[in-house]
């Protein structure tokens, strides 16, 4: 490929995605803040909060797609990085409460006061500083991913083994954060936040600002992912996904490639978690639950892995379905729907929504091209894009 890297990065689909995302980030606040509530175009604050949450999920899905869709690493523990980022943000928000907690202790968060703690544990130091907290949002998930990945990839743990130990990782963290002695608020986690950088966290303007920032973060991370996957580096990643041993024999240090992408992906998940917490108002150990991580994987599968746009779409679709199905008469059927999605997607839509669409488009294009250029060729288009059809992928 000889075109300029920027052009390669921003193909039509990606440009469209970014434009839509930008439009979304402008339209929602405008419709919420400027359009009067009586107008039919008004977007309620409820919807703003909900969409903000979905954007964060979209970012989490994007980070999973980067490693699953392009390197073939199925992490069933990505929720751990998401939650760690969330905890870092939560700790900052807790320290901002100051004397407004129910016990009015200037230093200690409420849960420490009523468990009779006398001083702040050392790992809470510095979190009153926003910059430090944001650094930790990236650093803690990144470090964990780096250490974990360094061990795992170096000893060539792959496929389902890797999936299972990522699950063990998040499960161990779940058990740990449940412990009240751990100093993170136990099962209740961190909650009752007041403000962020001095802005009231419940104000409509703050909510809209958080939504816009989430969109920006998603857009930025999307660009980073595109930059990675469209570069030469990205080609090697795909090679690793499709034939790890061959890539190694060609002289590439497979472990280093994997480790780099895994760490980047974990940092992105951490950012998603950090943006999620102020919008949802609580972070607690249930975010570490293996079931949550697996659910995030299905967003990617529904949207289409290895497409970057698909996972974001998948996160929206699945979570909207969840919102829809957990209300009223449909309530008892939500798990049937979710379970059905898992089964249906893997059986009938292995490429996901976007993947299937692209595949179909490619087929149509092939046909029309074939028709145009009189030399008709038989047979299907080689399935270049769909990881699921690659023999031996990830096993």
């Amino acid at each position: 490929m000889t075109s300029h890297p920027l052009i390669r990065m921003l193909d039509r689909g990606s440009t469209l995605f970014l434009v839509l995302l930008g439009a979304f980030a402008i339209a929602i606040p405008v419709l919420n803040l400027l359009v009067p509530a009586t107008s039919s175009l008004h977007v309620s604050t409820y919807l703003v909060a909900l969409l903000g949450k979905y954007i964060c999920y979209g970012l989490l899905a994007l980070s999973i797609d980067l490693i699953w869709g392009y390197v073939g690493i199925l992490s069933l523990g990505h929720g751990a990085f998401f939650a760690l980022g969330g905890y870092a943000m939560g700790m900052y928000l807790m320290r901002q409460i100051g004397t407004r907690g129910v016990y009015a202790d200037p230093i200690l968060p409420d849960f420490m006061v009523f468990l009779n703690w006398k001083e702040l544990p050392f790992f809470w130091y510095g979190f009153q500083n926003f910059g430090y907290a944001m650094f930790m949002v990236l650093f803690v998930p990144g470090l964990l991913a780096f250490v974990f990945g360094w061990f795992a990839f170096r000893s060539r743990v792959t496929g389902v083994y890797l999936s299972i130990i990522t699950q063990a990782l998040t499960y161990a963290l779940l058990l740990g954060f449940f412990r009240n002695n751990f100093g993170f608020g136990g099962n209740n986690g961190l909650t009752d936040f007041k403000d962020i950088l001095g802005f009231n966290i419940q104000a409509d303007t703050t909510r809209n600002a958080l939504l816009v920032i989430s969109c920006l973060a998603l857009g930025l991370c999307f660009l980073i992912c595109r930059a990675i996957v469209t570069s030469k580096f990205g080609k090697v990643l795909v090679a690793i996904r499709d034939a790890e041993a061959r890539t190694r024999f060609m002289g590439y240090r497979v472990e280093s490639y994997k480790l780099f992408v895994f760490t980047v992906s974990a940092c992105m998940a951490g950012v998603a978690g950090a943006l999620y917490v102020p919008q949802v108002g609580i972070i607690n150990p249930s975010e570490f639950a293996p079931a949550n991580s697996i659910e995030a994987v299905i967003w990617v599968a529904v949207g289409g892995r290895g497409t970057l746009i698909g996972p974001v779409l998948g996160a929206f679709v699945v979570n909207y379905t969840k919102t829809f199905f957990t209300t009223g008469l449909l309530a008892p059927y939500w798990l049937f729907v979710l379970g059905g999605l898992f089964i249906g997607t893997t059986l009938f839509l292995p490429r996901g929504i976007v993947g299937a669409w692209a595949h179909w488009r490619a087929g149509v294009k092939e046909k029309s091209e074939a028709k145009r250029s009189a030399e008709a060729e038989d047979g299907m288009l080689p399935t270049r894009g769909s990881p699921s059809t690659q023999p031996g992928a990830a096993e």
Binding site: R154, G159, V160, Y333, G339, G344
Partner: protein
């Protein structure tokens, strides 16, 4: 330490024992003590009609001291909640096991219409303790040695100095060595807690307790005040050191036993998973739900038995076993045929699809049976416990270990000696080569999946005896099962066995130091690190492929 004493302490046994000793014990007691005097017994009865615990306690004391031959049946009826009273008519009646009413004052059948406000004399724990002590001293000379043994134990517990005369008499008459030892210990217990007993007696009593060597003896020794005579104190120090050594030793044995028991539960839950993973390379996330289906099958079987054939209750598990195997196996084959076979070669997708299946199954069971726990009873042969030396072994854990052993052996035998086993091993080792020599791999896959699921189903029968039967049952075991399989290595049942037992025992030895949660985290971290060292588990199949 009196060697290995096996002491049946099943709760049901207790009740049955008391029912049977009712008559002979009363007769013997009368013969042993004194002529019945009418007064105090009758005077005590109105105290039972006020529905006040303190009045009942006073009446109970009076009745047991009355010497009346009606005392023991009355106390037994009270214990079994068959003693009824009418506050209006001031009457106390005994309901016999077959539903007849006796007048407690005379012991004769009650004539006339029963009072309208008849209700049970209520008990609380204090009264139950008083009752046990009273009945204990009344049954010290029962005909059956087991009853005498239990009576001696209950005197040991109550340490009531008032029973001393009866105890002495019983000791003199006792022939059975085991009962005699128990009586000696009961006597020693009383001597130790009696402040004015002679020092020499106390030293002898302490020696008896030292030989008993358990927690209860230790507890008694701790009650001896620091101002006791020096020779008594010396004996106490020596006895305590002795018992502590003994307890520490048995503590280790106990941990080992608990670890074995936890390990066998893990093995049972994981072994089906190991087969499917080994043969098909498929991670079945719905495995836990197969366990759950087995447990619900047990519940249904017990429900049917309870309503239709109550006599068969002790056989309910035996009936449930094959049914659970069939139910879970059939569901497994259905899953394989309808979903998994389309996903071969895509293990990660299989993982997601089976996770979806597990969600659907959970919610389906929730819809069918309701979200609450279901009661699955223990048959009598799985209830209770016995002492083996210094540790207590519960029957349900023992049977689960035995059962796991049988399942493991059967499975091993099947893999080793049957055609299906041979083909399964072939497919595990080299799928394409197996297919090339004419093995129908698709059929093997379906059967393997059915077998793995069926075993999960019978694991559910066993787990229903120790855990909740609820839609969430399977979720609790799935991650642990994965750990066992990954740790033990794929395609080798021995790996699974060693993996399960190692994890179980490690967990139980960590728990006393680190607590249940940290222990579990430590084990998880250990597995994560172990996998780095041996990415294919402890017992990996050797092969030449660079990528298995």
């Amino acid at each position: 330490m009196p060697g290995v004493v096996i002491n049946m302490r099943g709760l049901f046994d207790r009740i049955r024992i008391f029912l049977r000793i009712l008559l002979p014990s009363a007769v013997l007691f009368v013969a042993a003590v004194a002529n019945a005097v009418a007064g105090p017994y009758e005077d005590a009865l109105p105290g039972l009609t006020t529905d006040s615990y303190s009045d009942t306690a006073a009446a109970l004391d009076q009745v047991s001291g009355s010497g009346s031959d009606l005392a023991a049946p009355l106390l037994q009826a009270l214990k079994d909640q068959r003693l009824q009273f009418s506050a209006v008519e001031k009457k106390v009646l005994i309901k016999t096991a077959d539903g007849k009413l006796l007048d407690a004052a005379t012991g004769q059948p009650f004539a006339g219409t029963p009072p309208a406000d008849l209700s049970n004399v209520r008990l609380n724990n204090r009264l139950r303790n008083l009752l046990d002590a009273a009945l204990g001293s009344l049954t010290l000379m029962a005909a059956d040695p087991n009853k005498r043994y239990d009576a001696a134990q209950s005197v040991f517990k109550s340490r009531d100095a008032a029973t001393m005369p009866v105890l002495e008499k019983a000791l003199a008459a006792e022939q059975n060595a085991r009962v005699k030892a128990a009586l000696m210990q009961a006597k020693a217990a009383i001597v130790v807690v009696t402040a004015d007993a002679p020092a020499a007696d106390k030293v002898a009593a302490i020696a008896v307790l030292r030989d008993r060597g358990d927690q209860d003896a230790m507890a008694l020794l701790q009650t001896i005040p620091a101002n006791a005579p020096p020779d008594v104190l010396a004996a106490v120090t020596e006895a305590k050191a002795n018992i502590e050594r003994n307890l520490a030793l048995w503590g280790t044995v106990q941990n080992l036993w608990y670890g074995l028991s936890l390990g066998s539960v893990l093995l049972l839950a994981a072994i089906g998973l190991a087969i499917t993973f080994g043969v098909m390379g498929v991670i079945n996330m719905a495995h836990g739900e197969m366990v759950m289906l087995g447990a619900y099958t047990t519940f249904v079987v017990q429900e049917v038995i309870r309503t239709r054939y109550p006599g068969l209750f002790d056989y309910s598990l035996t009936i449930a076993l094959p049914l659970a195997f069939v139910v879970a196996g059939a569901v497994g084959i259905a899953i394989e045929r309808s979903v998994i076979r389309f996903l071969y070669g895509r293990p990660l997708e299989t993982l997601l699809a089976t996770w979806g299946i597990s969600l659907v199954l959970q919610q389906a069971v929730r819809a069918a049976f309701g979200p609450t726990n279901k009661e699955v009873g223990n048959p009598s042969w799985m209830s209770g416990a016995f002492d083996l030396g210094g540790i207590l072994i519960t029957y349900n854990r023992l049977w689960i270990i035995v059962f796991t052993g049988i399942v493991f052996a059967a499975l091993l035998g099947m893999l080793r000696f049957t055609r299906l086993g041979l083909e399964m091993r072939a497919v595990t080792q080299n799928r394409s080569m197996a297919a090339a020599v004419g093995i129908r791999t698709a059929r093997i896959d379906a059967l393997t999946f059915g077998l793995g699921s069926g075993i999960a189903g019978i694991a559910g029968v066993a787990l229903s005896q120790i855990d909740n039967v609820s839609p969430n049952l399977g979720q609790g075991y799935i991650i642990d099962s994965f750990m066992v399989v990954v740790f033990g290595g794929v395609g080798n049942l021995w790996g699974t066995l060693v993996g399960a037992l190692t994890l179980g025992i490690a967990n139980k030895f960590l728990e006393p130091f680190a607590g249940a949660v940290l222990g579990k985290i430590a084990v998880l971290v250990f597995i994560i690190l172990f996998i780095q060292k041996r990415p294919r588990g402890m017992f990996a199949l050797k092969g030449r492929a660079i990528e298995a």
